[in-house]
């Protein structure tokens, strides 16, 4: 079972943090192991997942999209229907219940697209805990709607203007806050990234996606799918879908990275496809970095994918060949965004539109008996400004 005792997935993962944080990570790991199989903890989590988040989410056969692409049957796992509009809340709920059990009174988080920030602010409001969200000023600009939502939910949004003014810098700042307020603060990391135990813990909380999907597809198709497709930034929605299928060798899994303006332009966020191994934010993993080990600026039209690293278990899955990683450009993602909107009446998040765009390439090549499941990780309401701008429309 991975990770090993020290949080490694093969050569990846680990705990590359300053000593001040080590005791906090050890405490978190111990608490997580204590509660993860605790009946009462699981009952509370499942109660809120059902009654508050609205799980289980549907596995929807997208007939018109299937017909339009003329190949494999396409199912959508509707994480966009979760409360707050994305899969992020599966994890924030798990972590905040843990925070409460650990007696922490203050919650912090980083956010890129704002979906994790909103999901954190939401559960913090529900459980009555003080909440502070770090967000790069660049992201604040392009995700203004989510900033407003977080504020309405009672969270304080701290603008971060250092480095590239995006997700990685928000994460640096959240780490600085955590190291300063270590005794009363719980840091809710939003992806399968960061130091151990976060990649494992977030994976476990998000695995509800894959467990439901497996049950649902067996019920309707009486067999496992041929392909699973999900977008990968840090990689939490994809890990959540893939993980419960990891031992089902007949299921091909594809993680779709953000190619931005194109891999060859250097302006993208495809850490696995174009990166090299390094250490950032507490774990060893594939990173976009220069020859001196400085982290590169990234670009994606989807703020939630605009990150120079990837969860360490994805790096491991890449190396052992269990998951195939591909990429689509901003432009292709916009095509996916529009196609799903007009064929199915579902406006996807720009992040999830990357998975749709890859499906547009794959599905036509497959026989009609084949089954593809796409993780529709979030809805696109938050992206109206970005998409309008990209399409040259003024709102």
């Amino acid at each position: 079972m991975l990770p090993d005792k020290k949080g490694h997935f093969g050569i990846y993962g680990g705990r590359y943090v300053a000593e001040t944080l080590m005791p906090a990570l050890l405490e978190l790991e111990e608490s997580y192991y204590r509660y993860k199989d605790d009946r009462e903890f699981q009952q509370e989590l499942n109660y809120y997942l059902r009654e508050y988040v609205g799980r289980e989410t549907p596995l929807y056969l997208a007939e018109r999209l299937t017909r339009r692409l003329g190949g494999a049957n396409i199912y959508l796992k509707r994480e966009d229907l979760c409360h707050t509009g994305a899969h992020k809340i599966n994890n924030t709920l798990g972590q905040i219940i843990l925070a409460k059990k650990m007696g922490k009174t203050r919650i912090i988080a980083e956010t890129g697209a704002g979906q994790h920030g909103v999901a954190t602010a939401t559960v913090a409001a529900m459980f009555g805990l003080e909440c502070e969200i770090y967000m790069g000023v660049e992201d604040i600009k392009r995700q203004s709607l989510n900033v407003f939502r977080m504020k309405l939910l009672g969270a304080r949004v701290q603008p971060v203007s250092s480095g590239t003014n995006t997700l990685k810098d928000a994460m640096n700042e959240a780490m600085r806050d955590w190291v300063t307020n270590i005794y009363n603060t719980f840091y809710i990391i939003g992806s399968v990234a960061g130091p151990h135990p976060y990649p494992m813990m977030v994976r476990d909380f998000q695995s509800v996606i894959g467990k439901e999907t497996k049950r649902q597809i067996l019920e309707v198709e009486k067999r496992l799918p041929d392909h699973l497709i999900a977008c990968v930034g840090g990689g939490s929605n994809s890990m959540g879908l893939f993980y419960p299928f990891r031992d089902d060798k007949e299921v091909e899994m594809v993680g779709v990275e953000a190619a931005g303006f194109g891999i060859n332009t250097g302006k993208h966020a495809a850490s696995i496809l174009d990166g090299s191994v390094g250490v950032l934010h507490g774990s060893k993993t594939y990173l976009l970095q220069d020859e001196n080990g400085q982290i590169k600026h990234t670009h994606s039209i989807a703020a939630g994918l605009d990150y120079p690293g990837v969860g360490p278990e994805h790096s491991y899955f890449h190396d052992i060949g269990r998951v195939k990683y591909a990429s689509v450009t901003d432009k292709e993602a916009l095509d996916g965004f529009r196609l799903l909107s007009i064929t199915e009446g579902i406006i996807p998040a720009l992040e999830s539109a990357h998975a749709i765009a890859y499906t547009m390439k794959l599905a036509p090549k497959l026989d009609k008996e084949k089954v593809i499941i796409v993780n529709l990780s979030g809805r696109g309401d938050k992206d109206m400004n970005t998409v309008a701008e990209a399409l040259g429309v003024s709102l």
Partner: protein, 264 residues
């Protein structure tokens, strides 16, 4: 015996404490860093910490973050800092410690780094985000090349962790005086004395205290309990305020002399 141990031994014989200033290499230029090192030594520094600039300095406050950005604007790399150390080493025997984040070292290659650092005349290395749990991948090489490996101990470290760290550490122990990032603070944490005493109970290595020490008065207080005092942001701030001033070296020198007098 290497240079770091020699310095602590000499100071201890004279009942003195070590002054360990930090500056970021390449801030504002490699040429000035060289001059700054000589100035620091002339003004009373006993050991020099040279910061390796990194794009994501998670343990640093705004002052050192900006220093790192200025150095990176000049594309200063770990290789450049090793070359700089070689040049400095032609003129002085003051111990030099490289202080940084792991990724630039990892990318350079642990084995190659260790060999090149030794050759350049580096005495020790302190990597903020390389705790004892992960350090072995570098430690095998720096041990072979007899470089010191310095670790942080924090107010959050319990006895078990202090033991784990001191077992792997050499040179001296860097006690982080506050839970937080680097940067000047108006007051010292109340528990420094108690924690330093606890660490000294568990190791024979000298203990330096850093993070948040910015005035000669604070340095004096800390030096009562510790074997060395580390001052970073307060010096980097003087550099920052005099980026284009011909007085930069003089002002840094004056401040460091006051610090040294403070700790006697």
């Amino acid at each position: 015996m290497n240079r770091i141990s020699k310095v602590f031994q000499r100071l201890s014989t004279n009942n003195e404490k070590a002054l360990i200033p930090y500056i970021t290499a390449g801030d504002p230029s490699l040429e000035l860093t060289k001059k700054l090192v000589f100035q620091l030594e002339k003004s009373g520094a006993d050991i020099i910490e040279l910061g390796i600039p990194f794009s994501d300095p998670m343990a640093d406050g705004p002052t050192i973050q900006r220093a790192s950005e200025r150095a990176l604007a000049n594309n200063v790399s770990l290789r450049d800092v090793l070359d700089l150390t070689s040049e400095i080493r032609m003129h002085t025997e003051i111990p030099i410690i490289l202080f940084g984040y792991y990724n630039p070292f990892f990318t350079y290659g642990a084995e190659k780094f260790s060999r090149d650092a030794k050759e350049a005349g580096v005495d020790g290395v302190l990597i903020v985000d390389l705790p004892p749990e992960e350090v072995d991948e570098l430690k095998v090489y720096v041990d072979k090349d007899s470089l010191d490996i310095i670790f942080l101990i924090a107010p959050t470290s319990n006895e078990e962790r202090i033991k784990l760290i001191t077992k792997k550490a050499s040179g001296f122990i860097y006690y982080v005086s506050v839970t937080g990032v680097t940067g000047a603070r108006t007051s010292l944490d109340n528990h420094i004395e108690e924690y330093v005493a606890k660490v000294k109970e568990l190791t024979d290595l000298p203990v330096g205290v850093g993070f948040g020490i910015s005035t000669p008065e604070q340095a004096r207080t800390v030096a009562i309990w510790a074997d060395g005092v580390i001052v970073g942001s307060a010096i980097v701030k003087i550099i920052e305020e005099n980026l284009n001033s011909p007085d930069m070296l003089t002002k840094v020198g004056q401040f460091v002399r006051r610090l040294k007098r403070g700790i006697g």
